[in-house]
Symmetry: C2
């Protein structure tokens, strides 16, 4: 998956609910399409598009599970996980000139499956209900 | 990934460490078989069986990639990743009485694939070369 956005205008994340239908973020049509395809899957509880940084910020999301405070918690946790994995990879490769990068992560939990796709500037996280 | 072993071709891992062929840890025959099956796959660079704790300790390993200092680094990093994910899940569920647990994790990096299977007391990590 390529998250490279054609344009990335500044965006203020205002409300929890109209994010998934809003086109104000100025994403490429391909990304729009991918995200709406994602949300249409019955087993997908939601997705979150985050911009990397300290702290990560929610650019866009869909799914009740990612609303409000819980969404913010998820965003923080997802950011922290990616950071831990990446700094772990850096620690392992040391200064051996063979750096490694996280490309994709799939975490199966008792309840869900969390898929995280990091990119230079963004993180896409999808929460999936494997029982559906 | 299914860890259930249909057949376990006898496999001697020729390296500095004879850990993979040692039976001194007192594992169940099933686990022995699974681990030797794992190591016999050409694309598997190595595995590590760790006991959870602070810090994690290496119970057993195979694969040059998990030898010596690098092995210790991997062990520490894998322990930290699982801890971060688990405490993230705890943070998300809060005290809502719906705790969640990590069951399996698959991390695709530029170079490798790391699979981590946590258990109450142990962590099994497998390093896989997807290009093989």
């Amino acid at each position: 998956m390529s998250l490279s956005a054609q344009s990335a205008p500044s965006h203020t994340f205002t409300s929890q609910s109209n994010a998934s239908t809003s086109h104000s973020v100025g994403m490429s049509p391909e990304l729009e399409q991918t995200l709406s395809l994602l949300s249409s899957h019955r087993s997908v509880l939601g997705y979150m598009l985050l911009s990397r940084g300290h702290p990560v910020s929610i650019i866009r999301h869909s799914g009740v599970v990612f609303e409000g405070e819980k969404g913010k918690k998820y965003a923080g946790v997802i950011g922290k996980i990616v950071e831990t994995v990446q700094s772990g990879l850096d620690e392992i490769s040391g200064n051996e000139n063979d750096s490694d990068d996280v490309k994709f992560m799939r975490i199966r939990t008792k309840r869900h499956e969390i898929m995280i796709s990091p990119d230079g500037r963004y993180l896409l996280a999808v929460l999936h209900d494997p029982s559906t």
